[in-house]
Amino acid sequence: MNLTPVWISLQLASVTVVVLLVLGTPLAWWLAVGRSRWRVPVDALVALPLVLPPTVLGFYMLILLGPQGPIGGPWLAVTGDTLTFSFTGLVITSVLYSLPFVVQPLRDAFRGVGAGPLEAAAMLGARPLDAFFSVACPLAGRGFLTAAVLGFAHTLGEFGAILMVGGSIPGETRVVAIAIYEHVETLDYASAHTLSAGLLVFSFLVLLAIYTLNRRGRSGGMV
């Protein structure tokens, strides 16, 4: 059995989580402590992938990332590559698709930390950015763990949006979920079983790990 799809899925999930932690942390912080009137609409926007059919997201991403699209067009002009049907296109799609799974636990963890420890840090001479990294982030540690694990697991399970944006190019965009679908199409149930069971067990273990950690210490983001 060809294990390349597993490798691509793991790569996609890892890259997506890293990008999401970098972009999602400031966003989550802003959602947690910000006072802008844009906070509520942005909060709702972040949650959108939770309720949207993946095909809707995939459809719009296809338009945005396509060679004539507002993102895909300039990308093609600069790099000479198309974003659709490429690994990079998958990463962009996955980042949007898994956004709430990373941002929401972080936002709740930062809310749980509250303003108190940051005020205390300021009183000891810590600049705001210093206080953020040396106090708020460590105190929200469990939230980071939850966010990373959920983002990773959810990206692994992605199907609809990826199929629309990435298709199924072996070695490039064929991830586990799509490989399973194609094994079933070609009636290769044995391979479909192996991959499905693997994904099932992996997802269960991930959730078990999070719930165990959250039960042990009651700080940071809850699922």
Partner: protein, 359 residues
Amino acid sequence: MSEPFLTFELQLRRHGFLLQAEGRLEPGITALFGPSGCGKTTLLRCLAGLEKASEGMIRHDDSVWQTPSFRLPPHRRPVGLVFQDTRLFAHLSVAQNFEFARRRRRAEGPDQQEVVEVLGVAGLLDRMPAALSGGEAQRVALGRALLAGPRVLLMDEPLAGLDHERRARIMPLVRAIPERFGVPLLYVTHARQEVLALADRVMLMDRGEILAHDTVADMFSAPAFWPALGGMEPTVVWDASVVARDNDWGLTVLASDAGRLRLAGISCDMGTRLRLLVAARDVVLTLDPPMASSALNGLPVRVESLEDRGNGLVLVRLTAGRRAPLWAEVSRQSAAALRLAPGRRVHALIRPQRLGGPH
């Protein structure tokens, strides 16, 4: 050396509450005293720079912390704030909490060894904040604030959540801070006993305003402030210092504005400053100097005025020594028998209570 002063003139409007406070923080310990919700904590937060909506002026020494057009951010003000809920960093051990403050100090600060010793926290250094008792956490929070090298220290009801015994153990530590570490202390409390035991001066606050600012002795001896001080019984507070010991009888001799006083049951070094409280009902007036009495202290006093309190009692205002005020509560019959009237000289037998630790 003249110590720098913190002067402020602040306004803050919020949800129908108006803070309008003006004052100057003197060396030593100043208690910010008033009922719950009168704005004590808010004023502290304004001084620390944590209330962004505050307006007005704050000056410290020759540096400006706030003007109508400028605001020094909290992390750049050389001020320490000990929060009521300690706010120790839960992810850092006690030693790491200290380290956090020491690495970010804005000016020369005390030696960690000294702070650890004074506060008695050497045995706690490896613990996590969650493993500390309330009193331990407060001592650590105080140490952390000192290690940041503040020039002004603010404390927000640090003893409010502690039982009597722990309070009694921490108060002498707080009392020693201004002298030991050279910082003036503004101490928020709504407990009268803490003011009497700790403070040199009081800022009396109510409904967002500072009503009065004076020494503890003067404020607690003035009838006008008794209601605001929590319905005080007529009382005077005298500050005194140890000038001699009478070893034959185990007595300590104190000098005060009221004259020399003798106290049993205390042992203090010469020069130690003590604070005494004399309640009006612990004062007995006689015409003649006492020959033999179980009251140790008899003082010649002068009657200043009389006030009929109803229910058969008369409150007599007296002066002891050169200028020490004293109140006596006597029955109307006794007042008549003693022929008390302004200007009359009589003798007072008093039973002073000693307050708190050394002052």
